[in-house]
Symmetry: C2
Subunit: 457 residues, 2 copies
């Protein structure tokens, strides 16, 4: 028994950093809270980004402005090696015609709240007209293929609200937005209307990426507000025929150059070992992308800023990356891993915040179990930030090319009940962001990247 | 070693409920999530309460309406023994004069955003005028006693934002509101202005209870918005004299009768053993008391409602209590423990939600460590509701008379960063409440009271 206890003690002593380091990290948590909550800059930066750049879809003026703003934010805060990395991005534009889905006035004049889904083709100037057929799944659609021919397919499967995580609910509905136009075109439909990807019932359409498939006709695709979806569903349930004329002026222009924005705190001992912390700088062309993902961008900058403010110099390099083009191409994330600047660099960890600037709950780990075990040793430190929920899970879209190449990925987990109320819509504005919740996310990020920078991975 | 392991096994087998019960409780969590998030009634009830009763300070028409509404809500849902319990409550009224703090126009006409603190006397109709002296603490006030004489004392110690919990920040500032008028009167001041108890900088004054002391003159006391506080602080910092005339028409009328509202799910085996779950029905006369504490009231009703909807009959009696008069007297909480209806009842636990209807994080336990240990056995069940943070802490004001008599007390812990943005002000309205977050709190409450009802305490 005595010998076992002795072995156990040795194990405790040698398996991990000494008590002294633990005490230093405890102090670090206290300092991060004091500096972050007391003099945090995440919210002012987000205010500047959302008010000066506004929404910032890849290739837009707003996106270019966001590149310039975040470049300046990093330079002003004295980060090392602040620079742009060029990336060619797709350029989809909504166009200038007022988007509308007008009920053909057999009954009464009635215009539904719609907006083009990202990537869709437009309609002819005279609109695309068809009777509306409501379906809840691709399976149902295929079963009613002959009925759907020549019609506008209305995908109306709602989020399942019984999931605790709204991301799970989103995952159970988003196929309609992503592949609806493909599946509808396959059965000869002329256009699609997709119920907005949100749990609330409101008048605001939520956009988001949709896809086409080689060899399948490209038909126009629009999101309809959940209230509009409920209305036309009730209408159809009464057995009435509903004809709609859809007007969209969206189009895809040639790719144009844009940039990832990068800034470092150079490591003192192992400068070529890199820990990335990032978010995506582009947003949909609705609202001002405050939660998605202005929050993640300013949190990454603030994470480095907090470490710098505390006078700390990390052993390894901590890098903030503003990735371009997450929403409709992932070009920034893909370009980052193959850029010439990566030569001689070893990426030991990547962290992304892209679930909204809400109160953090913890960290999801996308790596093998040894990495999880390593992070779990620090759980008590994160618990002091109300972020002790650490487990396996998804990290982030922008860092997925890094994760695919073997870099351990980490995602900032947050309270997500409100996220899809705002997501990809005119509701995603800074008044929905709480400054303390946003800052606390930056503090959690600062802690994680600093611990990894000090201890290695 | 073998014998020790054997003893340990026996301990594990006999110390607590069998695995079968654990599996049943796991299923219960799943059912609660499905029923609550899928068909929750907490938000519709809160909508009805806040829109039909509005704000509901003790003794007001709104309070009486709230009594009637919640009585009906419990009856309609088929609770047992739904009834009112009479309690005499204080009746403080704001009066009909427009409340104002007008800068005496030596410089320019300027009216500050103020409101009477709850319990204050009014000013004469012609107002109470004085030069303003700013202090940050009672200690500073006493040190400048001769200077403060005849003046209006302006208490301007802000919340310390570096606390992770906003309740801790509140606790560090609220002495100014609670005792400011007493301390100022002791040094001969004519009135007090108190910086609103909030972390945000906005134009909205936040009211709340203030006190007088026997033998100390009663001087008028008002809250000033944080923006107004910052403005006059800057003004005074320039060395200028600021004279203000304060107009308040508040007064205290004789006590009048009101009610606690009570409804049960009667226990099948031990009906006289009671588990209380409650909130307070009264609110300040600002906003509509959506978070404080309409949320806690509807969550208590919904907790019983969920258990009933699942067809469960608890072993012990689970009781929802809408306590009257938490904000300015605690008469409901005090009356509850001495009411004739308590005869033959044994209260084994009491749970309160009074920290806003935000996403739950866990449960704070106000009892001895054996109770905490008991609750911690269920931690994994609560973790499935994102509410696994269980530790020692405060329970609730309304149930404090029960706790004082030895009943274990429990408080629903929630994300609190936004709470004081709304608290006791016109901002506390239902649009600040997220339906899922509110419902999840009710689900956590349902789980806790049901577990205790089944297993005893």
């Amino acid at each position: 028994m005595m010998r076992q206890l002795f072995c156990l003690s040795l194990l405790l002593i040698f398996s991990y950093s000494p008590l002294k380091a633990q005490r230093q990290y405890d102090t670090l948590v206290t300092q991060l809270l004091r500096t972050g909550l007391g003099q945090g800059e995440a919210f002012p930066m987000l205010m500047e980004l959302t008010s000066k750049a506004g929404h910032r879809l890849s290739g837009s003026e707003g996106a270019q402005k966001a590149v310039e703003l975040t470049l300046r934010m990093m330079k002003e805060r004295g980060f090392d090696n602040v620079h742009l990395e060029k990336v060619m991005v797709p350029r989809w534009v909504r166009g200038s015609v007022e988007e509308a889905a007008v009920v053909v006035p057999e009954y009464w004049p009635w215009s539904l709240d719609v907006c083009a889904l990202g990537g869709t083709v437009g309609t002819p100037e005279t609109g695309t007209e068809g009777a509306v057929i409501e379906v809840k799944s691709f399976e149902e659609l295929r079963g009613r293929a002959s009925e759907a021919k020549g019609k506008i397919v209305f995908f109306n499967r709602a989020f399942d609200p019984t999931h605790l995580s709204t991301f799970t609910a989103y995952g159970g509905a988003v196929d309609q937005r992503a592949r609806g136009a493909i599946e509808a075109a396959k059965v000869g439909a002329v256009a699609v209307l997709v119920r907005s990807m949100t749990l609330t019932i409101d008048e605001v359409p939520h956009t988001g990426a949709m896809n086409y498939e080689e060899g399948v006709p490209k038909i126009p695709a629009a999101a309809i507000s959940t209230r509009g979806a409920e209305q036309i569903s009730e209408f159809l349930a009464d057995g009435l025929e509903l004809r709609i004329k859809l007007f969209l002026s969206a189009e895809t222009l040639p790719d144009i150059p844009s940039f990832n924005v990068v800034g470092d705190l150079t490591g003192s001992e192992f400068p070529s070992e890199i820990i990335v912390v990032g978010g995506h700088l582009d947003s949909w062309d609705k609202g001002s992308g405050a939660h998605d993902d202005g929050a993640g961008c300013v949190q990454a900058i603030e994470a480095l800023n907090l470490i710098k403010k505390l006078g700390l110099r990390p052993n390894r390099t901590i890098r903030a990356v503003m990735f371009m083009n997450e929403e409709n191409g992932l070009r920034g994330g893909k370009q980052y891993v193959v850029a010439p600047e990566r030569k001689g660099e070893k990426h030991i960890a990547a962290l992304e915040s892209d679930r909204g600037g809400f109160a953090p709950r913890g960290i999801s780990v996308q790596a093998d179990s040894a990495v999880l075990a390593k992070i779990l040793r620090w759980q008590q430190l994160f618990a002091r930030l109300n972020a002790g929920d650490i487990g396996m899970g998804y990290s982030g879209v922008d860092i997925s090319p890094l994760v695919d190449k073997g870099t351990p990925g980490f995602g900032l987990d947050v309270e997500n009940h409100r996220y899809f109320d705002y997501h990809h819509s005119d509701n995603d504005t800074i008044d929905k962001v709480n400054a303390r919740e946003l800052e606390l996310g930056a503090i959690v990020e600062a802690l994680l990247v600093y611990l990894i920078a000090e201890e290695g991975m």
